[in-house]
């Protein structure tokens, strides 16, 4: 292909994208930075471009805001529990499904349908699941603990509430890990596996010394992307626990949502957003460099 793109292609490939991105995302990005350094709320009755300048007091307030700090740390805890759990479960099922058996194709199709559900639907399902008279207490635990099962109020106990969120996320996103690992493992060239077989390696040894190392880059990508996705958790928390009891399960996304919508504290919400943005950008830049670009 000619090195320099012909003019018509160059325009088609850059102009529309720039219009869309600048118009919809980059301008608001600039506004956010402006808002973070002013004091404004719709309740003040003035337009946001006339708001008084207050330098970095929003940021100072954020750094000393315990609710913000605990929301951040809680989200981090959530991610550090959910992602490894999903990886291990996904790996176990992917390893198991390596051996050929009839109907495997349908089983794989069946196991991945949670990926396709809107998160708000999954949240609804588990909201109903963990109700006092819902199936968890009424059927499963009843079978184990008898009558006392009905007294478990999942959404009123801080740790139990967080557990329900974790279960919902693991239920929906383990198939994501499984799907990546499974397609990675089956994409390993058949010749390599056959060569190892002929050299006398057992099925287990082939998995550990051939299949797994070859999909290492894939695993890293899956972990990085899954962690970034898990940081966004909102639907489950908003629908199932509403951040409750109290603010025991409030994720950072829900906190920013509340600041902007409930308390209408726009400029402070902007500042908090920028801090979160910076933290995640730095972490993802390091993670992408360390995991993906090293590949």
């Amino acid at each position: 292909m000619p090195e320099r793109p012909p003019r018509s292609i160059k325009i088609l490939a850059t102009l529309p994208l720039n219009i869309l991105l600048n118009g919809v995302l980059i301008v608001p990005f600039a506004i956010m930075i402006y808002l973070a350094f002013v004091k404004w709320s719709p309740l003040m009755g003035i337009n946001w471009w006339e708001a008084p300048f207050i330098a970095i007091s929003n940021f100072q307030r954020a750094l000393s805001d315990s609710r913000f700090i605990s929301a951040l740390s809680r989200t981090a805890l959530f991610v550090s529990v959910v992602v490894p759990l999903e990886f291990i479960l996904g790996l176990v099922v992917a390893y198991i499904l390596q051996s050929e058996f009839i109907g495997k194709k349908y089983l794989v199709a069946l196991l991945i349908y949670p990926l396709m559900l809107p998160p708000v639907v999954v949240a609804t399902v588990f909201y109903l699941f963990f109700q006092p008279y819902g199936p968890v207490n009424n059927i499963f635990l009843y079978y184990i603990m008898g009558k006392r099962a009905l007294d478990i109020y999942w959404f009123l106990d801080p740790t139990l509430a967080l557990v329900t969120i974790i279960i919902a996320d693991v239920w929906q996103w383990t198939p994501f890990m499984f799907l990546i690992l499974y397609s990675g493992l089956s994409a390993v060239p058949k010749r390599l596996v056959e060569a190892a077989e002929v050299l006398g390696a057992s099925k287990w040894r082939i998995f550990w010394t051939i299949r797994l190392p070859l999909i290492k880059p894939l695993i890293l990508i899956a972990l990085v992307l899954r962690s970034l996705e898990a940081l966004k958790v909102f639907d489950y928390v908003y629908v199932m626990t509403g951040g409750g009891p109290g603010t025991a399960t409030e994720s950072i996304s829900l906190y920013i949502y509340r600041l902007a919508i409930l308390y209408q504290d726009i400029s402070y919400a902007a500042a908090v957003s920028i801090i979160v943005l910076l933290i995640i950008m730095i972490i993802s830049r390091v993670a992408i460099y360390f995991f993906i670009e090293k590949r």
Binding site: P189, R191, L192, E194, A195, A196, E197, V198, L199, G200, A201, S202, R205, T209, I210, P213, L214, K216
Partner: protein, 366 residues
Amino acid sequence: MSRVVLRVENIVKTFGKTIAVNDVSFEVYERELFTLLGPSGCGKTTTLRVIAGLERPDRGRVYIDGVDVTDLPPKDRNVCLVFQEYAVFPHMSVYDNIAFGLKAKRISKLDIDNRVREVAELLDLQKVLWQKAGKISLSEQQRTAMARCIVIEPKLLLLDEPLSLVDAKIRERMRRELRKMQRDLGVTMVFVTHDQLEALMLSDRIAVMREGKLIQVGRPQEIYDNPINLFVASFIGSPTMNFLEGVLRVVKDKLILESDVIIELMRGIDTSLYSQLDGKKVIVGFRPEDAFISPEGLIKGVIQYTEIAGDKKIIHLRVSDKCSIRVFVDLYALVEVGDVASIQVNPLRLHIFDKETGNKLLRAGV
């Protein structure tokens, strides 16, 4: 000949409707390089995979060292297979690649190290020993794959077109090295290729296959000089054998071929030998090197163009509309397109095939 290492008995293998291997049987002796030769899709690779245990035959048995291994998994057959591509584990170093087979057998670390270094020495891989196998050149990768097999001292080394992806110049050197290594180590090898020259140069014996069937088995010279049918005659030998189609006539002591023009093949023949072929529809074949330009040549033709074939020059001669033949001349001979030349065929090397069945009717002088 010495001990039989591999015996393949009436192997049949089908994939859906197509019969990939159709009742193939042969034996391979100890320290022999046995080649399965044939065009793509003739079932040679499938046969190799059946021997290695990567494919289960529908019918037939495979014996290695007299032991029936047909139902054993690949690792219990003490064989090793070198593939055409993806031959090495790209993410491991060359050292780990070679040691892979030994580690699976729980051999002491020290012992592994010695054997790996020794084989690496033999295959001139010391320089790349610690590089990632995916990063080294294609010919080094193939040698690593071979080293990996040799180090576990299998009873049988199987190679599936290992040289076909390598560049023309390096391939020629690797053919010599492979043959020399096989001779020095005395490893029994079954080699699969579609390149007939490669088969001739490397093998002790060749099995020519076509559409799943075994056509002819024999020493390279035997297959080259005495092909049993038209397919083997045309497939073996570069450039391809010359073929002239027509009706055979015995006139006094002359052998004539009536094609769209009368071509006199031989004089002073023993009529009794050829009389039963008189009037038969045949295809007459002779190899380009078995004919030469000479003033009293019987076949006349016009030179269309010339070709360089390594050590010799080939001239393309148009005898008639339907017949054209190729003949070798010295590399530096001065022959021009358009010259007229007369060709004398070496009577001892004239093959006659039946037009319908393609089978060999007679080879003059035998």
